[in-house]
Symmetry: C2
Subunit: 210 residues, 2 copies
DNA sequence: TCAAATATTAATCATTTGATTAAAAGAATT
DNA sequence: AATTCTTTTAATCAAATGATTAATATTTGA
């Protein structure tokens, strides 16, 4: 039996173990630096099983990448299209949600960004990023706020760069930051937690700045 | 003769050609994805010459990485330790300088960050980042500004994260940004140029925010 | 001009690495 | 219990890759 859904004692199928291991290794080292043998070892399985279940390293990678991007973007789309929340609330929710997600999976930002860099066409053509942004409730609310003079800088790209950058950059620069600040993992996470309150406040200040 | 300093007609030595090629390829693809044959081809030289001049791929990489980090940090140290400039002026100069540098070499931020990730110990122990920050004039000016109530958030790490993040993040997310904004290289660079004026203004607003 | 030093090349090596194969083991079906 | 289908394993392959070698070409200095 391939997937023993009934059996409670056995926790994970081989397929699941491989996928989890692949995710961990790919996230940490990136596609190019990852050896299929690393994944097999991490999963505690025979190397051949990787190809048996997923055909190739490339296929396995694409699967994980697609799932990662989809999850990442789906949540964002949901938050940015809520008709019931204001722009300020959206900022708070995006900040809160993504700092939590990335704290749990700190390699995520670098992983996504480095892999998009190494193959921008393949990954970006699958997701209509432009459409997602320009047709969002967020986008309309931003336009309105600009029109009403509540936001000084009219270009929503600056707004997004600042928002996402403030959330994501510290995680990407984490080793540098820990060395530079002389702090440990625990203090780093404390800093990130602080930023959940700080970033929305800063974004407000930026909106008004001129 | 290895280095024909006198001869004006010959522009670059083999050694220089290899180094330039290695820099270009390493920056673009990272260490793991780079093949020594890619470098040889880019440099227009025989593969064996790479080892003849630089011993190994690893050694060549370390050389380039060290030069890159040194240049990157030396400039920063200089700017942040100028006794004659105020905090505001320092921010303006850091923003201006790094947006220029990175516009000319857009792969720099991802390169540095991904390679530090894959080998944090090796790279960070060579540079006393902590000392550089805590003993800087910038650090003292920041402390003073906090003490005098001109800056609300007392932790200088937040200040640095925001400043560097706002400068650097858009370049790292460039492909995503171009897809999302529906813009081309030229418009991207225009945006980055705008940010030279905007970021210092935003940083000021952030300082006062509470 | 000629010998020594330096630089360059083509061929080759030894490993690594992604992938396959054929056989064995295990589970499901009859 | 016998048969069939699925899963797992050990062994192996072929290509890629970092590095070396031995021979050749070029430059330098006496």
């Amino acid at each position: 039996m391939a997937k023993p859904n009934q059996i409670v004692t056995e926790q994970f199928t081989t397929e699941e173990k491989i996928k989890a291991a692949a995710k961990a290794v790919f996230y940490k080292k990136g596609f190019a630096a990852t050896r299929t043998r690393d994944i097999a070892e991490e999963a505690g399985i025979n190397l051949a099983l990787l190809n048996y279940y997923f055909r190739s390293k490339q296929k396995l990678f694409e699967l994980i990448m697609l799932e990662t991007l989809t999850a990442f973007i789906e949540k964002m789309v949901l938050l940015l299209n809520d008709e019931r929340t204001t722009l300020d609330q959206k900022v708070r929710e995006v900040v809160e949600n993504y700092i939590d997600v990335i704290t749990a999976e700190p390699e995520l930002p670098i992983f996504i960004i480095t892999e998009i860099r190494s193959n921008p066409k393949l990954l970006l053509q699958k997701i209509p990023v432009k459409k997602i942004i320009r047709q969002s409730v967020f986008f309309k609310q931003h336009q309105k706020a600009v029109h009403e003079g509540r936001i000084q800088e009219p270009n929503p790209l600056h707004f997004l760069m600042n928002l996402i950058g403030m959330i994501v950059f510290p995680f990407m620069a984490k080793p540098l930051l820990m060395a530079g600040g002389g702090i440990e993992e625990k203090e780093f996470n404390e800093l990130m937690k602080e930023r959940k309150k700080l970033i929305p406040m800063w974004i407000k200040a930026i909106m008004k700045a001129k």
